[in-house]
């Protein structure tokens, strides 16, 4: 079982890396935000899986925090983005 978990863990890291790459270089600023949002949700899943992999699933609390902060951060980005004048 732990083999499957490890494989899943690595695969999620690949997804995270792809999302990170998207947020590094993106055609529009919204794509950047999208990449970061995806990175956040995948991180939540990553923590959940790692918790089971390390045999200490009681750390799911941290996954909850990530989910919360990801959402709030997203709302804040959109909110303050309205204020800033678009570049060029």
């Amino acid at each position: 079982m732990s083999l499957v978990l490890a494989a899943v863990c690595i695969a999620i890291m690949v997804v995270m890396a792809l999302a990170l790459a998207r947020s590094f270089s993106s055609p529009t600023v919204y794509d950047r935000i999208l990449g970061i949002n995806m990175f956040g949700t995948k991180t939540v899943l990553f923590i959940a899986v790692v918790g089971f992999l390390m045999g200490r699933p009681d750390f799911l609390d941290i996954a909850i925090v990530y989910a919360l902060i990801n959402f709030i951060g997203m709302v804040a980005v959109l909110r303050f983005f309205e204020y800033t004048a678009p570049v060029e």
Binding site: M54, G55, R56, D58, F59
Partner: protein
């Protein structure tokens, strides 16, 4: 080979610290300086947490049948340091807001004329 496995963590952390430090002293924009300061400090936190790790140990919360725990003391220190970091960030950012209102700019090279370069 063993040598690398013993220290790779610290080396990457040193690189991260220096990346943050570089941003602080080279960035032109004051907000970016604060971001750099945060990166610098966060990397120092990783240094502390790295030294608390015990291979094969687990998080320092008591569970049945486990005897090998990672060291809780660095965790405590860094909890405090994170709070200190966010406090500094808040004060720094509010200074930036005031600077923007007083000078109309937050770019370092635009202060030069008035002897206020930061």
């Amino acid at each position: 080979m063993n040598f690398i496995f013993d220290y790779y963590n610290y080396w990457v952390v040193v690189f991260l610290m220096m990346a943050g430090f570089y941003i602080v002293i080279s960035a032109n924009n004051l907000v970016k300086k604060i971001v750099g300061l945060n990166i610098f400090q966060t990397s120092v936190f990783i240094l502390y947490i790295s030294m608390g790790k015990v291979s094969g140990g687990t998080a320092p919360i008591l569970v049945e049948g486990v005897t090998q725990y990672s060291n809780p003391l660095p965790h405590v220190l860094i909890l405090t340091a994170i709070v200190v970091g966010v406090a500094t960030t808040a004060v720094g950012l509010s200074l930036i807001v005031r600077i923007k209102r007083a000078y109309g700019t937050v770019e370092e090279n635009e202060f030069e004329n008035t002897d206020d370069a930061i």
